[in-house]
């Protein structure tokens, strides 16, 4: 009832799923994105015209000692050590892990360490707070396919929501998606959760683009309501398939002129852009996976995939992740068969699980959402280790976003995106105590000033409050 204004944007989120099996390709994809500035011959163009200007903030060599560590890879280390320096993880291990003498050491006794939490599905910035019409920048609902729009051109970097995701949720990276009014909503952008004056200053260096697609109710409602195509699910597919065929024809046309929409579609066909497909129903997901084969593209992840548990086998075979809530239920027709055991049943089937938020509220508690999904499985007799559950909100999300070679786990050489929790992150009673992004301490619950305050909040009631 209180969140209805947001339901549309959030419920319509794209389901981009990076395949959990794409580990090897993400680096290549990232490099393609980063190195594509050459504009030498006709048909080639700058694929990175709004390049990331993000630079890590200064940090000091730091060791967290004595804590329980969830590495993000599924592993749990009791009484462990995490040492990072120069913005990178240097060492992770048991109590005997050597650390230099003259560095900052935090006693983690009774505390927990995880990689920075990653939200694969957020609308921070494109549906920012305050949620006023002037800020409604997530759905270019003027045409059923808008692959030409880029979410980064809508993101307001002063959204107060970024700070809540950091301080309350330990979120260090997130994918901002267009909404789900359209069959093809446009390009996503992956951000470091670090405030900047510009969106370029938040862009995750080397992250591939995603393309948001949407199945089901939203596109047919939005356009059918205007008596335009699509007004049915079969209309959804017809428009999608023709759109893909047109993209293939464009790709194969040697005399093509630049076309922003087609460039995004071709980016998907070429494997450079990852498809995140909002899709609730199992039967529709199965059809989309066949459409992907028909056309020759990959679906990385289905988002809001509340019925994935019905087709865990198909999703495993196709290597498609399910980005899901723990327990959202019954708010729209296509969510009527959602069950809290979805994640656990997928895990049991060997399919890839990512817990997502699609919410400026739940992004502050992805750890708790994952814990609820774990517990629902346990009651069904499906025991999933804590380390695997943390993986749902760290490394699995990173893989599905194509950034897993850079972040998502505590492994030497990776970005020092680290959360120190004041207790077990799978407990409702725990909160982030400190959060580092690329080794820089950007939130500290023990230091009132080590907390971001967006421009919007300055001079207003509650400025700088713990929130």
């Amino acid at each position: 009832m209180p969140h209805m204004k947001r339901v549309f944007a959030s419920v319509g989120g794209a389901l981009a799923l990076a395949a959990c099996a794409t580990t090897g390709s993400s680096q290549a994809i990232a490099e393609t994105g980063a190195d594509s500035k050459a504009t030498s011959s006709p048909g080639e163009f700058n694929k990175d015209p709004y390049p990331s200007t993000y630079r890590p903030y200064p940090g000091v060599p730091t060791a967290l000692v004595g804590a329980t560590i969830f590495t993000g890879t599924g592993e749990q280390i009791d009484n462990g050590v995490v040492f990072f320096s120069g913005g990178e993880i240097v060492a992770v291990g048991g109590p005997d892990t050597p650390i230099p003498a003259d560095i900052a050491v935090f006693d983690g006794t009774g505390k927990y360490v995880t990689p920075g939490v990653i939200d694969i599905h957020s609308h921070l910035g494109d549906y920012p707070s305050p949620s006023v019409p002037a800020h409604s920048d997530g759905n270019e609902a003027t045409s059923p396919t808008t692959p030409d729009v880029w979410a980064e051109h809508s993101v307001w970097p002063q959204d107060p929501g970024f700070s809540r995701a950091l301080a309350n949720g330990g979120v260090t990276s997130l994918q901002i998606l267009p909404g789900s009014a359209n069959l093809v909503g446009g390009r996503s952008v992956t951000l470091k959760n670090v405030y900047s004056r510009t969106v370029q200053g938040m862009k995750f260096p080397g992250a591939p683009y995603g393309m948001k697609m949407a199945c089901g109710e939203n596109p047919k409602r939005v356009y059918g309501g205007r008596n335009t195509k699509p007004s049915t699910r079969m209309g959804n597919f017809a428009v999608n398939r023709q759109n893909w065929l047109d993209a293939i024809a464009y790709r194969d046309d040697e005399d093509r002129k630049r076309n922003l929409a087609k460039e995004t579609m071709v980016g998907v066909l070429d494997g450079e852009i990852l498809v995140h497909n909002h899709c609730y129903r199992a039967d529709e997901m199965a059809l989309v996976m066949d459409m992907a084969k028909e056309i020759g593209y990959r679906v990385t992840a289905f988002h809001h995939a509340v019925e994935s548990y019905k087709i865990g086998d198909l999703l495993r075979e196709n290597g498609v992740c399910s980005a899901i809530w723990a327990d959202w239920y019954g708010f729209k027709m296509e969510s009527y068969d959602a069950i809290p055991e979805n994640a656990a049943l997928l895990q049991q089937a060997g399919a890839c699980v990512v817990i997502h938020s699609d919410s400026d509220q739940d992004i502050q508690r992805l750890n708790q959402e994952a814990a609820k999904a774990q517990a629902a499985g346990a009651r069904l007799g499906i025991e999933i280790p804590d380390g695997e559950v943390i993986r749902w909100i760290t490394l699995n999300a990173a893989k599905a976003m194509g950034i897993d070679t850079m972040t998502g786990s505590l492994e030497p050489g990776k970005m020092a995106d680290v959360v120190l929790w004041n207790g077990d992150p799978l407990s409702v009673y725990s909160r982030p105590e400190k959060v580092w992004v690329d080794g820089a301490l950007l939130f500290d619950a023990m230091d009132p000033k080590r907390r971001p305050v967006s421009d919007f909040e300055l001079g207003q009631p509650g400025e700088g409050d713990v929130k």
Partner: protein, 428 residues
């Protein structure tokens, strides 16, 4: 878990008539009474004649009363959700199934949720499975600042959900109300005062039906509000809007006001406390989603409580009934965060049990394990505020309730994906 299998309802129980209340006792459990106190270890809860008979350690169990060993479990009163819309929609996004608001109605204050509540709505069944046994069900305003009259219900598996019909009137003086009333807070306030005046005139026989803005039904419906016989729940969020509600209390001293929302309540907590107005408050909202919520903080409830406000958890501040205990658990987590104000475990649990009951004038009747209260008892597999815990048994008025619903049936069907003999459609 195995020991509960004997009590698990068979699928057909969904259709069965309710059983009669049975006397029973649960022993050796961790018991939270819901009154704000901390849990009691190794305690007993005794239910007789559909009511709580005794609670505590060392309770004598009368001969012949069936006793269940609750070792390893937690036992609490059934949760009280205030305010919520469960039972008013099957799927909120499917308009034909949605009775939460009546945007095209010719009436407003006279609207009454009582005949609209569907006791077999999956949302009621799911809520029951989440330990919620009583709910304060409110309509939502749409074409008037008055949303209509809400009810207090139980979530029991029987045909009579309404415990107290027309328990309250709901009105909004929030941004939404200003928009409905004509585009300004100036309009919503004059709308409210005019309606109260016309209702008073009606009640005193000075209402002609001419030169009135209310129709007869709405004027009549507001009579109990003006007379102080029916609570008036007022939605407001901004500090200045809350002050305006406090001023309303001084202007109309007979009206029994309850604040709903109060996102910025912590900024005016002392004034609310002095006015003695109960607050059903936003909980984990930390964002300025609207301009009326600029000072939003998860410490809202904790700070009001510390200032002496009669504050409780607004169930509609959590999106789904799965989340009520989680949200309240987060209020406990806040108590460990520097600069934040949370609640003790006992106080946090009370905000989903005895405090909402008290705010609605039902203290001692529901939401509490206390002699004489309704026999609403929930047995949990762990700390009820912890995200890993869930109810394993639910009693309402002493009657054990089925915990099956559409979700559990789907879960059981898709426990495996085997269709080697027959399609899944035959697996039921």
């Amino acid at each position: 878990m195995m020991r509960y299998l004997a009590f698990a309802a068979a699928p057909l129980a969904l259709l069965a008539q309710p059983a009669t209340a049975q006397d029973f006792a649960i022993t050796n459990a961790t018991v939270a009474t819901g009154d704000g106190s901390e849990p009691i270890q190794n305690a007993t809860v005794l239910v007789r004649g559909g009511k709580i008979a005794a609670v505590g350690a060392g309770i004598a169990i009368p001969a012949g009363v069936p006793t269940h060993d609750g070792v390893g479990t937690w036992v609490t009163p059934g949760l009280v959700a205030a305010v919520t819309d469960i039972g008013l929609a099957d799927v909120s996004g499917v308009q034909s199934s949605n009775d939460i608001s009546a945007s095209k109605a010719r009436f407003n204050a006279a609207l009454d949720v009582t005949p609209a509540i569907n006791p077999v709505s999956q949302h009621i069944l799911v809520a029951r499975g989440n330990g919620i046994t009583r709910a304060v069900v409110a309509p939502s305003p749409s074409n008037s600042i008055f949303a209509g009259q809400g009810a207090i219900i139980d979530t029991g598996a029987d045909s009579e959900p309404v415990m107290k019909a027309r328990a309250f009137q709901m009105v909004t003086l929030a941004e939404r109300g200003a928009d409905i009333a004509g585009g300004s807070r100036t309009a919503s306030h004059v709308e409210l005062r005019n309606a109260l005046r016309e209702a008073r005139d009606f009640a005193e026989g000075r209402w002609s039906g001419e030169d009135n803005l209310l129709n007869r039904a709405d004027a009549e419906a507001l009579g109990p509000v003006v007379a102080g016989r029916q609570q008036l729940l007022v939605q407001a969020h901004r500090a200045s809007d809350i002050r305006a509600v406090i001023a309303l209390a001084q202007e109309f001293p007979r009206i029994k006001l309850v604040l709903v929302g109060a996102t910025e309540g912590w900024l005016v907590a002392d004034e609310i406390a002095r006015a003695g107005i109960p607050v059903i408050a936003e909980s984990l909202q930390s964002l300025p989603e609207r301009f009326e919520q600029l000072a939003a903080s998860q410490s809202n409830i904790g700070r009001m409580r510390a200032a002496g406000v009669k504050v409780t958890f607004n169930a509609s501040s959590a999106r789904f009934t799965h989340m009520f205990t989680q949200y309240v658990g987060n209020l406990v987590a806040l108590s460990r965060m520097p600069g934040a104000t949370g609640l003790s475990w006992g106080e946090a649990f009370a905000t989903i049990s005895s405090r909402p009951a008290a705010a609605m004038g039902m203290a001692g009747q529901i939401g509490e394990l206390k002699a004489g209260a309704a026999g609403d008892v929930v047995v949990w597999d762990g700390d009820p505020l912890e995200v890993s815990s869930a109810p394993v048994r639910v009693f309402i008025d002493g009657i054990e309730q089925p915990l099956e619903n559409h979700q559990t049936r789907l879960r059981d069907r898709y426990r495996d994906l085997d269709e080697s003999d027959l399609p899944k459609a035959y697996d039921w």
